[in-house]
Each structure stands twice: as C-alpha cells, then as structure tokens.
C-alpha cells in the first residue's frame, strides 16, 4: 500500500504551563500533523515539585525548579492511541545549578510560551493504516542549517532549516526507541525552496 504524506513548514507558539508533551500534542493537533520537528531557542522551562502532570499551574507557585533551554531540536509524534512521544537533542541549564547532563525531566513545562519553527508530516488520508505504533530516530547535523533525520523503520528523512544555522543543531544525537510493532517501509523527501519556507513533499511505501 502506498500512502502520500504531505510535509509542511510552519511557525507557531508552543503554549507554556503544560508538560512539554501536552504542549506538543496540542500543537500537533492544532497544525493537523502526525509528526513534527521543531526548534526551541532560549525558552524558559520549569518543573514544579508535587504538581501532577494534568494539574494546571497555580497562580501562586510555592517552588519552581527553573531553567533555560539554550536550543533543543524536538521531535514529536502522535501515535495511534493518541499519546505523544518526544525525542530531542540540545542544550539547557537549570538556574539552581543542577547538572544539565541529567535527562530532561518528562514533566518539564515551558515557563513562557515559546515561538518555534518546524516541519511536520500531515497524516495520509488512510491514516489508520499508516499511523505508526512507534518511531525510532536519530538526528545528525549535516552542515549548518541542514540536518538528517533518520528513522530506522521509515528510512532516511532530510530536513532543511530556515537558513539560520542556529535553528537546527543536534550536537548530541539522542536516539529514542519505543516498544511496539515495527512498520516496514521507506520515507523519501525532496525539497523545493521558497523565499520564506521550505516546502517538501513526501511519499512513503508502507507494507501492512
């Protein structure tokens, strides 16, 4: 079975105050995407001890662990069961001096809404058969402004940045692999450059 995935570049604001995965899920739904790669730059973040993942941030917060994302390239995918998986690479620091080498806490929330640019995949019409159960990928810098995203199941995907070398950097590729059934297939992209955005068209051949 062959399915056509449309790629689109976009700009949006990632809402603050929710756990990052929830903010990403809302952006995926708002943009009508199945997968997206976005770049976060100079974004304040926080973790609130004791606050549950679905609880809103109260008006007066007794204690915050705060930090700043210097730059993170974040990949997010909406899976068939509605959950969101995240993978990313980048640099950040915590203002209380905690080591940045620790994994990025899963309940991290943006301290402010963050402007992002990104590229996303629009689900194919027959999305039920092509929505992945899992995604496994690595992000590797190729040259300034360009990075390769390689999905071990879907094949190699080329990403182009917006012309600013800072917008796509992944000095520390972080593979993310999740359990689940593998999709067989190959995803290929070609790029047509426009003055402002990079438009891409993708085709994939998926065996179900």
């Amino acid at each position: 079975m062959t399915a056509l995935h449309q790629c689109q570049a976009f700009e949006d604001i990632l809402d603050g105050y929710f756990p990052l995965a929830e903010s990403a899920r809302q952006m995926l739904v708002r943009q009508g995407l199945q997968v997206m790669w976005i770049t976060l730059l100079q974004a304040p973040v926080m973790t609130l001890p004791g606050l549950g993942p679905t609880e809103p941030v109260p008006l007066h917060v007794p204690k915050i662990h705060a930090g700043l994302i210097d730059q993170i390239t974040l990949c997010a995918a909406l899976l068939r069961d509605g959950t969101v998986v995240l993978a990313g690479a980048g640099q950040w620091f915590w203002t209380d001096g905690r080591a940045a080498a620790q994994p990025f806490p899963t309940l991290t929330r943006l301290g402010e809404p963050a402007f992002v640019r990104g590229v996303g995949l629009v689900p194919a019409p027959s999305s039920e058969t092509t929505t992945p159960d899992h995604l496994a990928w690595t992000l590797t810098p190729f040259e300034p402004g360009i990075a390769w995203l390689e999905d071990r199941d879907l094949g190699k995907v080329t990403l182009f940045g917006t012309g600013n070398p800072e917008d796509l950097r992944a000095p520390l590729p972080v593979p993310a692999q999740l359990p689940g059934a593998a999709l067989q297939g190959r995803l290929m992209l070609s790029a047509d450059r426009t003055p402002k955005f990079w438009n891409m068209v993708a085709t994939s051949s998926v065996s179900v």
Binding site: D15, L41, M46, L59, H60, V61, I64, G111, P113, F115
Partner: protein
C-alpha cells in the same frame, strides 16, 4: 512565569549586565535638544545606571561625560549646571543630535550607523520630540507598547471625540479614510488577531479587527530592537518611542513625532505635554502619589481608567502598577502576548550572542544599517481578503504625497 534569576537576566541594565551590554550596542536617547540651554550647556543625564553630564567639548562637539555623584543620589536628581563636577577619570561617550533628541553611544568600539527610519529622514519642520519619566523598569515599559490588544481596554473611550480636536493625540483620529473614529473601532472590536514577523530591524506586528460587512481594520505597529516602538498616531503622523533606562527601576520614554503631511505645530505639541509634565525632570503631573488623578465619575462615563484623556497616563499607570521591576514569577503569558513572546526570544538570543562574542548576530549589526528605511506603520480599513495589500497601498500613498522624501 520565570524565576528572579531569569527575570534579572532580561531586566537589569547597569554596567556589565547581560541586557545592559545589549542595549549599549545601540544609540540611546540621552536628552532632548530643548534641554540644551545657552552656549555652554551642562545637562545632567542619568542613563543606564550611570551619572553623566551632556556638554559641548571644544574638539568633539556634544559628548556625555561622567559626573561626580553620590551613591544615594535620586534617579532623577537634576543638579544645576554650576553644581556639576565632571569626573576626569570617568567614561566619555559620543553624542549625535537627531530631530530633537541627543543620542549617545555607550558601547565598545566604533558607534554603529543610524538606520534611515522616517523619524530620522524627516526635516526638522516635520518632527517633534519630547520625553517623560516612568517610574518602572524599561522592559515592562516597552512590552506595553508591543501589545496590540490592550488599546481596546486600557485606552477605551466611552464617547468619541470630534477628530477636529485630535491634533497631537493618539487614537483620536478617524480610522484610515473612513468616518469611523479609531476609539470606536477599538471599543467595539476588542479581540484582534495578532501576527508577528521578524524584520531586519526587529518585529512587525499586525493586528486585525474583523468588523461588520466583511471589513477589517488593520493596524501595523513595530518593535525596533532593542527598546523602541514605531506606531501610527494619526493618518498623518507616526510615533517612534524609545524606553530608555535611567536605572533598573526608572526609565524615560523619548518620543519622536513624524508628520507625513503638514509641518508639526511644535508650540501646540509642546504646550500639550508641558501641561502634563514638570521640568526639569519631565516627571508626570499625574503619578502614583496622587492616584493618577483617578476620577470614578469619569470612569463611569468617559474612560476605562478614569485617569483622563491622555493615553500616555493610562500606559504609565499600567506599567508602574506592576512594581518597580515586574515580578514575572507570577506572570502567565497567553496567545495574545505573541509579540512579547517573540521579543523576549530576540532579546535572549542577543544576550546569548554577546556572551559568545558574536556581536554580528545582533539585529541591525550588519553593514547595511543605513539602508534600513520605513518602517510601515499605519491604520487601514479594507475588505477582509486584501488587508495586507491595503496596508501597503495606504503606506505608499502617504509617502507619495509626503512633502519630504519618504520613498522606500
């Protein structure tokens, strides 16, 4: 919401602070030309946490020199010229006069070029400058200027004034070429769609108010990096306004009014503003100590704030009431704060760039600064589909009819 440390990063501007280092890379308004009295002026200037004096140097022309001051000197202390003592060991900064404002460069290396904005290109006859004190941090003063939604509430007038009386006043003209007062548009359409674009000078902010009968009011304002705005005042005038730190808790707004039609009536403009400010500190008559002359009767019948008809006072109250430095540990930005979100990203990226010795990454740091013109800043009313074209056409039409060269 951000912690105090992250708030300090973007608000503190004294010597050797991250945000201060960014601001010092750009020309900063230091004084009004009106303040230079006599052949040998000595004008005290309190700027960027430093105590300075503006004077004429025999060789260099106007300069800012460091003056001797005590540590507990009030932020707006304005000693008489005869009492000013120049610190021979202190810094000296170059000064340039532009259309009524004396700009100083306090950064390292050679001073940058000025962009060729309309406010600088206009002849003296078509420009007027003034300043005023706000007792708050510069960043919250700037951020109110890049929030297009607040005008529908903070500056809401319950009655519309005759536009014939609108000279020199913000928001009192008709909207574009219609007979609809801007005050009516802002009052009846309080939820604009806001879009933000990066430009070579900062940000272009477009707010759309979708009106009845398929019409849209388009208002284009701008953020000029690092701390200025350029906004429409009327069909013939724009305002370019800088929010210049005195120190971390006080700032001056410096405004250039630029006319694209008739020469500016400077006497009237000056008289209007001197009614609201006291010299020599340009402190506002209405302030926190007299509740900004709040009148509940006026609030019930005339204005949203009850603080008079001068919208500058409304802004002053809003930004000063946040505290000397806004406590952003209690801040919750929303989608309507799109321009503030984009601006803070620009500011933090600039701070990071300087920390990495990459000054060339700052906005307007390239070699073509003098070629930057405009910006487009106007109100237009048009059919909803073609609002972008209508805004550009209105700008081009105004420039084509302008008596001085405003072509872009």
């Amino acid at each position: 919401m951000i912690t105090q440390k992250l708030n300090d990063l973007i608000t503190r501007i004294g010597p050797a602070t991250p945000a201060g280092d960014v601001l010092r890379r750009y020309w900063q308004p230091a004084a009004l030309v009106d303040e230079l009295q006599g052949a040998d002026p000595m004008v005290p200037v309190n700027l960027m946490g430093e105590r300075l004096v503006l004077l004429r140097d025999a060789d260099a022309g106007l300069v800012l020199r460091t003056r001797v001051a005590t540590a507990d000197e009030a932020p707006t202390h304005h000693p008489a010229g005869a009492d000013i003592q120049v610190d021979p060991e202190g810094a000296t900064y170059p000064v340039v006069e532009k259309n009524g404002i004396c700009f100083a460069y306090m950064g390292p290396g050679a001073a940058p070029d000025f962009p060729n904005f309309d406010c600088f290109r206009a002849p003296d006859s078509h420009a007027f400058a003034f300043k005023g004190l706000w007792e708050c941090n510069w960043l919250q003063a700037l951020e109110i200027g890049i929030d297009p939604a607040h005008a529908s509430f903070l500056h809401r007038f319950l009655q519309d004034e005759d536009p014939a009386d609108s000279y020199g006043k913000q928001f009192r003209d008709m909207a574009a070429e219609t007979n609809i007062p801007i005050t009516q548009v802002l009052r009846e359409y309080p939820r604009p769609d806001i879009s933000v674009e990066e430009t070579e000078f900062g940000l272009k902010i477009t707010s759309l108010r979708h009106m009845k009968n398929g019409m849209t009011h388009v208002r284009v304002t701008n953020q000029v990096f690092p701390e200025a705005i350029c906004i429409p005042m009327s069909r013939e005038m724009t305002i370019t306004q800088w929010h210049v730190p005195i120190d971390d808790e006080n700032c001056y707004w410096f405004t250039m009014f630029t006319s694209f039609d008739k020469p500016v009536d400077k006497e009237l403009m000056r008289a209007q503003r001197l009614e609201e400010h006291t010299l020599p500190t340009y402190a506002p008559v209405k302030n926190a100590r007299n509740q900004y002359h709040y009148d509940p009767e006026e609030q019930a019948t005339t204005t949203y704030t009850g603080m008079g008809l001068d919208i500058n006072v409304h802004d002053q109250w809003a930004v000063e009431s946040m505290g000397a430095i806004q406590d952003r540990t209690r801040e919750h930005l929303g989608r309507g704060d799109a321009a503030i979100v984009r601006y803070r990203l620009m500011l933090r990226r600039a701070i990071k760039a300087l920390q990495k010795n990459q000054a060339s990454a700052l906005p307007m740091s390239g070699g073509n600064v003098a070629e930057i013109v405009g910006p487009l800043s106007n109100d237009a009313v048009t059919t909803t589909e073609d609002w972008e074209a209508a805004s550009r056409q209105a700008d081009q039409a105004r420039r084509a009819e302008c008596p001085w060269d405003a072509t872009v």
